[in-house]
């Protein structure tokens, strides 16, 4: 009985969650491969009306228009890169959730590496200094001049 009670909300959540996702985008492309590319592309394109959602997740009018464009381009045999270029030419790189590697945003990709390097240098220095201090301490103890 208690088990059944516990399962019920889970089932409800599963059923309701499924319906909500379906309501936003009921697209079903004829070819499963196209469908997979469609899902991947719409997830990495930003809905500019509601800037933290992808066009796959957004109920905004513009998002559904952009999904229609992606769909039509896929059906017309366009490549993923051609579709991304189409979007970037109109809305700028901001529409891509995954920024491209270019001279302008190289820092975006390189900064984590630089920070990691700084961290390594700092860590190595700290460890070295500590070991020097510890060695000095040991010497002092040996001499009997620790205090």
């Amino acid at each position: 009985m208690t088990l059944r009670l516990a399962v019920l909300p889970m089932l409800l959540a599963a059923v309701l969650g499924g319906t909500v996702a379906y309501a936003i985008d009921p697209t079903e492309l004829p070819d499963p491969q196209l469908q997979a590319r469609y899902v991947a592309l719409t997830k990495e394109l930003r809905c500019l009306q509601c800037q933290n959602e992808s066009i796959a997740d957004s109920p905004a009018g513009l998002a559904s228009d952009l999904r229609r464009e992606v769909r039509n381009m896929l059906l017309a045999g366009k490549s993923d890169e051609e579709i991304r270029d189409f979007m970037v030419a109109r809305y700028g790189e901001f529409i891509l959730f995954r920024p491209r590697y270019s001279a302008r945003n190289a820092w975006l990709w390189l900064l984590p590496l630089v920070l990691l390097l700084i961290g390594v240098v700092v860590a190595v220095r700290v460890v070295r200094q500590r070991s020097v201090l510890l060695a000095q301490d040991d010497e002092a103890v040996d001499d009997g001049t620790a205090e």
Partner: protein, 186 residues
């Protein structure tokens, strides 16, 4: 050793502070444009289009009618509160006769759009009806109202996102217009 440590102790926080100042100053400078996205269209040819006219559905309006002259393209819809806000400014610009305004009625209802113009006045030379939003995508429109300035070579010179005010018009649009176009009204 101690000298280096003294320098390091002050240098690193100082550099961190300087960096913070630069980042925050940049944030403050762009605060009024928060959330607006620079259009990649500026400096490039305006997208071509041909759509039915709102006032005369049998007639196609678009790029054909705009060749060789400066114009303002205003993207609007009756569902858009910002468009209501800016309407008076558009009327003023139209009255000044400085530059023609054409409208792109975006994802709207014809009857409602016509009622809106009848009630508030019509600042547009003509209005193209973009029911399914296909042309708006070519123009990179992501939220109405949006206003583009295009020169006589068909190059997009400026884009403003959000309601147009007379202050914005005087600051961002008027100085871009050539003297011989603006002098007519002044």
């Amino acid at each position: 050793m101690s000298r280096w440590r003294l320098g390091g102790r002050f240098l690193i926080p100082l550099l961190a502070f300087a960096l913070l100042v630069v980042v925050l100053a940049n944030g403050i400078r762009h605060a009024d444009r928060k959330g607006t996205i620079d259009s990649p269209l500026v400096g490039r040819p305006a997208p071509e289009f041909a759509l039915p006219s709102l006032t005369d559905p049998n007639r196609l309006v678009g790029s054909q009618d705009l060749q060789g002259r400066w114009y303002v393209l205003n993207v609007w819809g009756t569902w858009c509160p910002g468009c209501y806000q800016e309407h008076e400014t558009l009327m003023e610009v139209a009255r000044s006769g400085v530059v023609p305004i054409v409208g792109l009625n975006w994802k709207d209802d014809d009857a409602q759009a016509l009622a809106w113009l009848a009630q508030l006045g019509n600042p547009y030379e003509w209005i193209a009806v973009d029911r399914d939003g296909r042309v708006a995508i070519d123009w990179g429109v992501y939220g109405a109202p949006e206003t583009f300035l295009v020169d006589d070579r068909g190059i997009v010179v400026h884009k403003h996102t959000g309601p147009l005010t007379s202050q914005v018009w005087k600051r961002d649009f008027l100085p871009l217009l050539p003297q011989r176009v603006t002098s007519r009204s002044e």
